[in-house]
């Protein structure tokens, strides 16, 4: 059978197919879109991808993603942010989700993942020692453990809690509340979520 598509198009399909959750059909659709886009816009995409690594670095204090030109995350350096309150998250993008609530005025600490033996991620790969340092240096009073509501997120939260206790650091620790998300019918809620919602019920 002859090759059905030009090699240049197949290469783009192949490369786009490496993006998370992108199958062959989706990659084809993206590639075809790029084929019909003008040259200038494709060059912009190519340039953006090429300059991604040089333009981004990790904040040495919070491990948030920052501009290569910055020395520390603006969410940490900003004097109006409360350094004694730290939200610990798994990934840099989790910060955006929390910032979007507009409800949090503390600083962040990115662990860089969650403990997951299956994926070969152990506690030594996470930015836990740096967090323990920060707790002392910044005289942190409260830690909100905002890891994901997954098995890995839970294990990481537990491990972190023990580490902080073992280091004799007296700091208030909390976990994000678990319960029914907004707009969900009780009928369709899974039983674990519902158990959490019952357990964490609030007096009126």
């Amino acid at each position: 059978m002859p090759q059905l598509l030009p090699q240049a198009l197949l290469t783009v399909i192949d490369e786009l197919g490496k993006l998370p959750g992108v199958g062959a059909r989706t990659a084809e659709r993206y590639a075809y879109h790029l084929l019909r886009a003008n040259d200038a816009s494709n060059r912009k995409l190519a340039q953006a991808v090429t300059q991604l690594h040089t333009g981004v670095k990790s904040c040495p204090k919070t491990f948030a993603l920052i501009d290569a030109s910055e020395s520390v995350s603006p969410l940490y350096s900003n004097p109006s942010r409360e350094r004694k309150l730290v939200a610990v998250v798994e990934e840099p993008l989790d910060i955006i989700a929390l910032e979007r609530t507009g409800q949090f005025n503390g600083t962040y600490h990115v662990l860089g993942g969650a403990i997951s033996p299956i994926d070969g991620v152990g506690p030594e790969q996470l930015h836990i020692p740096e967090l323990l340092h920060r707790i002392k240096d910044d005289e942190v009073e409260e830690i909100i453990i905002a890891t994901n509501a997954s098995v890995e997120g839970e294990s990481t939260a537990l491990f972190l809690q023990r580490q902080i206790e073992q280091h004799g650091l007296s700091v208030k620790m909390s976990r994000l509340a678990r319960g029914l998300p907004v707009g969900v019918d009780l009928e369709y809620a899974d039983q674990i979520t519902l158990s959490h919602a019952l357990e964490g019920r609030r007096l009126l």
Copy 2:
């Protein structure tokens, strides 16, 4: 509010967000994946996108996508393909769908879209005159109109049929069958599909 993400990352999110069906969240996920990918693999993606336009051209006979180095589509030049049988499709990727069936041994003709007044696509933008020429030049005996099963696809098929008749070309014309797709329960089929399935029922 300070910028929550480094500019280089925002630019990539922005550019990826222009792909069809990609919203802000998906673009963020893609960009974060690229951020964690190594430099060489990102360069490959960037290069593939940059070289897309120069590596691909349109076949002057069938308007299929071909390598810039080819003069005509291999699906047309191949002597084992029947030139007297032409499947007319809207877009180049439709060819792949038909080729995957392994059931078609004719040649293709890509219209380059479908008639859609809303999107400002009139018949004059489609490769219809070229098809009429091909019918004469290649002494085409049968045309399978394989446009989409949408309103636009139907209008285009009707328009094409009339054009061929008006030009006094005697050629057998057919449309792809419409009915129940494989694996669909009667219960869940929409009524239009079901009407088509009834109308096109086959004697056993």
